[in-house]
Symmetry: D2
Subunit: 336 residues, 4 copies
Amino acid sequence: MIIQLKKGISKPMLENIHFVLNEFKIKNNYVKTQVAEYLVCFSKNEFDIRKIGFIEGVEDVHSVTDDYKLVSKKWKLNNSAINLGNGIVYDAFNPIVIAGPCSVESEKQMELIVQHLVKSNIKIARGGVFKPRSSPYTFRGLGIDGLKMMYELCKAHDIKIVTEVMQVSQIEEMLPYVDVFQVGARNSQNFNLLDALGSIDKAVLLKRGISGTIDELLQSAEYVFSKGNEKVILCERGIRTFETAYRNTFDINAIQVLKEKSHLPVIADPSHGVGIRDHVSKLALASIVAGADGVIYEVHPSPEEALSDGQQTLNFEESNYLIKQIHSLQSFLKSN
Amino acid sequence: MIIQLKKGISKPMLENIHFVLNEFKIKNNYVKTQVAEYLVCFSKNEFDIRKIGFIEGVEDVHSVTDDYKLVSKKWKLNNSAINLGNGIVYDAFNPIVIAGPCSVESEKQMELIVQHLVKSNIKIARGGVFKPRSSPYTFRGLGIDGLKMMYELCKAHDIKIVTEVMQVSQIEEMLPYVDVFQVGARNSQNFNLLDALGSIDKAVLLKRGISGTIDELLQSAEYVFSKGNEKVILCERGIRTFETAYRNTFDINAIQVLKEKSHLPVIADPSHGVGIRDHVSKLALASIVAGADGVIYEVHPSPEEALSDGQQTLNFEESNYLIKQIHSLQSFLKSN
Amino acid sequence: MIIQLKKGISKPMLENIHFVLNEFKIKNNYVKTQVAEYLVCFSKNEFDIRKIGFIEGVEDVHSVTDDYKLVSKKWKLNNSAINLGNGIVYDAFNPIVIAGPCSVESEKQMELIVQHLVKSNIKIARGGVFKPRSSPYTFRGLGIDGLKMMYELCKAHDIKIVTEVMQVSQIEEMLPYVDVFQVGARNSQNFNLLDALGSIDKAVLLKRGISGTIDELLQSAEYVFSKGNEKVILCERGIRTFETAYRNTFDINAIQVLKEKSHLPVIADPSHGVGIRDHVSKLALASIVAGADGVIYEVHPSPEEALSDGQQTLNFEESNYLIKQIHSLQSFLKSN
Amino acid sequence: MIIQLKKGISKPMLENIHFVLNEFKIKNNYVKTQVAEYLVCFSKNEFDIRKIGFIEGVEDVHSVTDDYKLVSKKWKLNNSAINLGNGIVYDAFNPIVIAGPCSVESEKQMELIVQHLVKSNIKIARGGVFKPRSSPYTFRGLGIDGLKMMYELCKAHDIKIVTEVMQVSQIEEMLPYVDVFQVGARNSQNFNLLDALGSIDKAVLLKRGISGTIDELLQSAEYVFSKGNEKVILCERGIRTFETAYRNTFDINAIQVLKEKSHLPVIADPSHGVGIRDHVSKLALASIVAGADGVIYEVHPSPEEALSDGQQTLNFEESNYLIKQIHSLQSFLKSN
């Protein structure tokens, strides 16, 4: 059960609600986000939900039977929009494209990429500076200096930045330069990191775990939301299966099922999803047809020379062509 | 290596080719299909492929490094078309829709479904009469009488029939009434059945195994083709993964990868793929965007009362809406 | 619900039971095996099970809530024993070893193997003559002649034979030469084959499917049992997972869980289970500790030259060593 | 390639080695652990390994073709032993048992458990105080105070402590109270945490990821080792598969394969492995037969009342029985 509290609810009112809930033996968690205040309640007993609805200070009460609560669609039928500022609103009517390299490698590389984004009217850049790598001996990213460099280049064109954060201690130094904090697949159940991202006011792009279930992804989103941050974007990026013909198995089913179960935006990452450059563009388009609110993909001036993920990265020509196709597909879908 | 033989090659010519191949210690399999004659060759030694190309009776020679040979795109870049007669040609420019119930249940049910197909201009009907069921105590289909009844109803409207065959001994009695023999996921490596279907001149719709790899599906197709039947259609129908939020995990990656590796047509079965009615239509459309040559889905006058698979079956209204969307999507894709 | 019928129940008594069941709207399936007669019943209504227990001709009544019925441990707590004759009884106190080559290749090979079995006091030989192979171009076994040859060699030493049957039409010709019909992983849901094996009086060794669930394996066993054949042996042989470091992932959990859920014997196939020769023996021993009623493994005079599965096949020395370890482990387990 | 450096190698010697490596264009990583100094080298060129072996300051040179280097068995055939002090040495001849509750819940609970450990002569206790939980609303452990309480109780009986660390910032406060830092399955690719654990001198128990490959587990161990800490223990704890009959699929194959590929100790966690109390003990024994260097399992005074994981936790009686069986099995294995 979720109790939405009235805007500016007074302390005595809140105490009174707690008093009533205690009488009914209903455990509850107080949540205050950028947007509103809630009580997330758990009880083993049956009771009349209306009795709570009538208490002063209560805006609305919803029964939510899912294991996750605040991110569930059961209490909020409208899809959540996420405003990144400067006209970039992430909602169902404006699927948004995020593009950029796997890793930020050099100023020259990023200049070329930012030019490409500007030319293609892509308003959000991705680019990793802290890279999770299987082997300790491989390139692990340019770190905070790479991020600052990327920021300067993007700022000049009002391009927003999505980049991966790997641990709590990085958040503070990254904060001024990041618009969307990405949580990678390997950290999708790093609960301390999720807690910490719940206490800042920046959007969080949460990737599904390598073998993460739909339920686990939504519970991870619940961590962020319940700590106070409603700006969560879910991302399908392929799962691990028995099939070895592709790097991961992009799970298009997840897009629809996540949209059905949650009010949060859901985007697709076809680059990691299939991991094969030739198949990225069609998967991006298929994801939009399936209902994704956006796509994130990897692009590089010369994918063959990329320090990481080159085999799944588009070049500028392919990216341009994809963008055009996305736009005409969106027009088609709106008119049908 | 595949050697395409000249049309009407004489016996002495063929013997001469064998003689040369033996000299090079190249093992070979003679294959004669509806369309042509081939020698599928295997050798551990290196040799100059041109030496074979110059032998009399040889039309063309191709090096094919895949484990499967005749179904590979390496020797045949053009997509194969399958002609079911009456103007129904299965090729890349005419994605074809197959619809019908999971099980043929009654004459009344089939009359309604055939009416629906006619109205929606769907020219191929699916409908199971031999049903593989996990439990021996459940409904296992109406058998050959159900097929005959279905045939009479479809014939009147020139609708072609796809239905599942479960064992070799059923083929003969089914032959007059079936246009496309479906091999189910559980039989995708039933090699005796594949052998037998290779020796008839009807199309074969081969479903991917429940945990079948791309490679295994193509090898199963190779069984049919190498026994003499080129009319094979591949079908992605969802795989088994750790995720329990859906019945199967529809693997959209497979569509593109199969099209890349093989010249055979590839269709999508979103009904079994995700197993949830609300998600079938969008998956069907996404599959077409991803490059599928067609879709097969389940439709029933009242899915709630279906004897099997009701939870993933569309009703007539949903089916009508899907067909319209497919047509407008196809127009869009052709014009882009 | 399972109704055990009295031995030699008369036709009027049986009709009376049907009459009562019909009154209670209980659907039922009559099953007659080598051992007894049963009615397997299904009902959506609640009713007093004792009312049926009192009817003349009823030996016993059991509520079985599992999806599978006759193979469930819910109605038969004692483990089932399978008597192959000549002192070979397959039960919990006499774990039995089956060994032999992947494929029967030649008389010379089989002579050496039979000598090895005799010397090691192994009383059941395995050996494939109909081989399911992914590729149509590879060795598919010596067929019925290979089986006859194997039979002559084994008969002389009273060694029983386990071999794979791939389709219904093979059963009749194989029958005189086979003691245990093996159903391979790829055919574990070939329901027509299971039906047919239910109507003969030979033991059936049922391998778990490549991605078969515990429940599916028991349902497949139910097919055989419910058609009249109680002599079913279950076999864990590794499942398909994401891990590529081994051919399959031998699932030791399945042994205990199958023993808990079913009264049928359960054996382990570590050769296919892990697919790596060096690891076969320890897995065999671990399986016995976990409760397996026996093991089946591959042995060959020179595994490097085997026509199939050489990389997972023991040589004679390794096999001898394993047998000794199995015997001393069994002694240890009995005394602890 | 791994270069073992001479003990107390001088700075000029090291510089000289670097100089030679640079000449050969061999990239290298300098690693200094509690035990020794190494250079982990990577090169695309062929060169004569002996040329490096002859340089002053080089103890030994090994070619290691695995992706992981320092944890590979290719350069160190002897199994590594880990000494926890007080006579507890973790090696192949002294498989060690770790037992304790999923979560440290109360002083009373821990007193009872410590008594049980003392009585059963178990010298290492497990017990979680920082608990990773899918839902943000569930019990997340007693934290550092719980650990201190556990420490006081264990210290009195010289019992060592294994407990999970979830993030870098916890290490410092935990350090005085912990003998083995456990990295949980969800953090098995939390590379920052692995880096940090590489710079302390306490043992690290590294659990395999929920869908972690053998290779990934060894690479994660390489992170810890290459940052300076050789005391790494690997732990198989069940993987995620399609099977839903158990919580996880305990992968016994991994034990043997890890022992084959690495010199690090490998232990089994059958509690999480299968997740079903009745099956834990047999899996523990089977793991030892398969070659595990030890087992870790969950025990609680009354599992039914445990705050977490009760369904897979042994009670004292079961634990006592298991310990006795482990001891007699170990005697048996040594004498065979």
